[in-house]
């Protein structure tokens, strides 16, 4: 009985958002599915051609490697930031949160151009190193994998900090007290209390950053090198340059499927925990 009411209330609250998603997102999405099988005629030819092309395979592996590494780096760095924020008094935390949120609200394009100034051959880092070491240093930090990962990580960190921080703040301080009264050292408390209890936030963050990085487009285009072609850039190539929307749609469907494949287990896991 209680459960039914609960479901009904839930459905009621979700219906406005669901209506918008279904009305605005679904038709174009269906159109993309339709285009992927409808080129010259109705067929799976585009999928066949795309999936077997060397270009696609290369872009796919680049996408998975870049998404994996940037998620991992963002998770580690974001966790540390969240941990620090969780230990601050509320007022101070609010101020520090701005440092996380400001870059989060800044356009990714603006951030990419800023990184060009910071990471370039004549950029801030290289000039600083040259000045310190007294000789000309020109580390290749941009237009390659390094620049791409720096840009991606910078972009994704806030998306880890927010859910992890929420999880950390939800931990009852009494548990920490109990652990330390029982004689646990800080390291032990961290691994047996903090980490397990932050897992819901960690997985929520991981899920969103990994799925988002699968679709990265601007950062690889502006900060990556010619070898850092990701799936979205390949979609852009077929969509804009050769106007083969059938192939562009086929790759889009593949990216969408990948997002589902990676998201589903995590989502299921979270539901079971809940």
């Amino acid at each position: 009985m209680n459960r039914t009411i609960n479901m009904r209330t839930r459905a009621l609250f979700m219906s406005p958002a669901a209506t918008i998603v279904v009305a605005i997102l679904l038709p174009p999405l269906l159109y993309v599915f339709f285009t992927s099988v409808h080129g010259e005629a109705l067929s799976l030819a585009s999928f066949g051609e795309v999936l077997t092309s060397a270009l696609f395979k290369q872009a796919l592996s680049t996408t998975l490697v870049v998404a994996g590494w940037s998620s991992l780096l963002s998770l580690v760095l974001g966790f540390v930031v969240a941990l620090h924020l969780a230990r601050q008094p509320a007022r101070r935390r609010a101020v520090l949160m701005m440092l996380v949120l400001l870059p989060f609200w800044t356009s990714v394009l603006v951030k990419c151009y800023a990184f060009a100034i910071i990471l370039g051959r004549e950029g801030i880092i290289n000039n600083m190193l040259s000045w310190i070491l007294g000789s000309k240093i020109q580390l290749p930090l941009i237009f390659n994998r390094v620049g791409l990962l720096v840009g991606m990580t910078n972009y994704l960190i806030p998306l880890v900090v927010l859910p992890v921080l929420a999880s950390l703040l939800a931990i009852d301080p009494a548990i920490y007290r109990a652990a330390s009264i029982m004689g646990a050292k800080p390291a032990r408390i961290f691994w047996t209390v903090t980490v397990p209890l932050s897992l819901p936030g960690v997985f929520a963050g991981l899920l969103s950053i990994f799925v988002m990085s699968l679709g990265a487009f601007v950062i690889p285009a502006l900060l990556g090198g010619p070898k850092d072609l990701m799936l979205s850039n390949l979609i852009d190539f077929y969509n804009g340059q050769v106007l083969d929307w059938s192939k562009a749609s086929a790759i889009s469907v593949v990216v969408l499927a990948m997002a589902f494949i990676f998201a589903a287990p995590l989502a299921l896991w979270r539901q079971r925990k809940a």
Binding site: P27, P28, L29, Y31, V32, T35, S53, A54, L55, Q58, L109, R121, E122, F143, F217, V218, A221, L222, G225, P226, K227, L229, S232, N233, I235, D236, F237, N239, G240, Q241, V242, L243, D244, W245, A248, S249, S252
Partner: protein
């Protein structure tokens, strides 16, 4: 809007925002004045659009009362295709790249043009039924003359590809069109025998310099990478090199007219354009000799009008290829690229990844 005047590369976000998923959203259309005393022109903005406004659009509006609306838009044909599919055409004149114009022509994106409004005798490149060419430009080799004196830098494509004789880092665009032709010319193929391209041979020649190439992500880098000393020789455009020789242009660079690729910039009218007649009048005005001379004095490219070529300022003419019959030069075949850009573009991307 064409590649050499663009400040953004073809790969940047604009193209992406008009991505595959955006197509059905075009159904809703965008508000554009429907009145017949206006005309809508696509341009990517920047100094190129400023020059067009000053020398073409403003005087045209003054003379005819027809207002010119400039719509900022990406270089590619994705949105044009979406407009054609949905039948919701809101733009009139497109000026993108020559290869795209030819490709659009093949796909039926353009309206036929009224040649009776044009002085065909005066045009440098003859228009086709749906494309008029309003200017041409050369591309070739640029270098820093303070670093490389006479005889110390490559002047022809064969020398540009000779890493032993002229060691140093080269800047190239990561595109198939242009690079393929340059490689074949460098390997000794005569300009008249270039098309159809011997693609395998072209890639073999490109392999010779691959390890010394810096790939330009954006057109301005063809110049900036030379000026900052990151590279030694660049594939560039004379109007860009001209700008470095003007006040505020930074380190002045030099450009070789010994061997060039020659391209042309198109004007097309979208099929089903809302202000078709005004569009044709604007194109005719655009090609008038006096308009052409003013425009190209400013842009530093080759005017599409023969008369304008003689009345241009000597200052601007310095950056126009001095010998229009130079046997080393190659006129890029737009029709060839309209047919082959997809396969060769994909192959170029693959080649870059290996």
């Amino acid at each position: 809007m064409n590649r050499l005047n663009s400040t953004v590369s073809r790969r940047t976000f604009l193209a992406g925002t008009a991505g595959a998923v955006a197509a059905p959203m075009m159904l809703s259309g965008s508000p554009v004045a429907a009145a017949s005393n206006s005309v809508v022109v696509l341009s990517t903005g920047g100094s190129f659009t400023d020059s067009l406004t000053r020398h073409v659009f403003d005087p045209f509006t003054k003379g005819t009362g027809i207002t010119v609306t400039i719509v900022p838009a990406p270089l590619d044909l994705a949105k044009i295709k979406a407009m054609q599919i949905t039948g919701n055409v809101t733009w009139d004149i497109w000026n993108g790249q020559g290869t795209s114009a030819a490709s659009g022509s093949k796909q039926g994106f353009w309206e036929e043009q009224d040649h009776s409004l044009l002085d065909l005798q005066d045009l440098v490149v003859q228009p086709t039924k749906d494309v008029t060419w309003f200017e041409s430009y050369a591309s070739g080799i640029a270098w820093d003359p303070a670093k490389y004196g006479p005889g110390k830098h490559p002047s022809t494509f064969a020398e540009f590809f000779d890493v032993k004789k002229f060691p140093g880092r080269r800047v190239l665009h990561p595109f198939a069109d242009g690079n393929m032709e340059m490689a074949l010319l460098a390997d000794g193929v005569a300009p008249k025998d270039i098309y159809p391209l011997d693609v395998d041979r072209a890639f073999k020649v490109l392999n010779r310099i691959k390890s010394s190439v810096v790939w330009a992500r954006q057109t301005p880098q063809l110049i900036s990478l030379l000026q900052s000393g990151e590279a030694d020789f660049s594939y560039a455009y004379p109007n860009r090199v001209k700008a470095t020789n003007e006040p505020g242009g930074g380190k002045p660079l030099a450009f070789s007219f010994e061997q060039n690729l020659l391209w042309s910039d198109p004007l097309t009218i979208l099929k089903g354009a809302p202000n078709k007649d005004n569009a044709m009048r604007l194109i005719a005005y655009w090609l008038r000799p006096e308009v052409q001379a003013n425009l190209e004095n400013d842009l530093g490219l080759i005017p599409g009008s023969k008369k304008a070529l003689t009345t241009m300022s000597p200052e601007a003419k310095k950056w126009v290829p001095p010998n229009s019959n130079n046997p080393n030069n190659l006129v890029i075949n737009m029709e060839y690229w309209a047919e082959n850009l997809e396969t060769l573009g994909a192959r170029m991307k693959e080649w870059l990844l290996i």
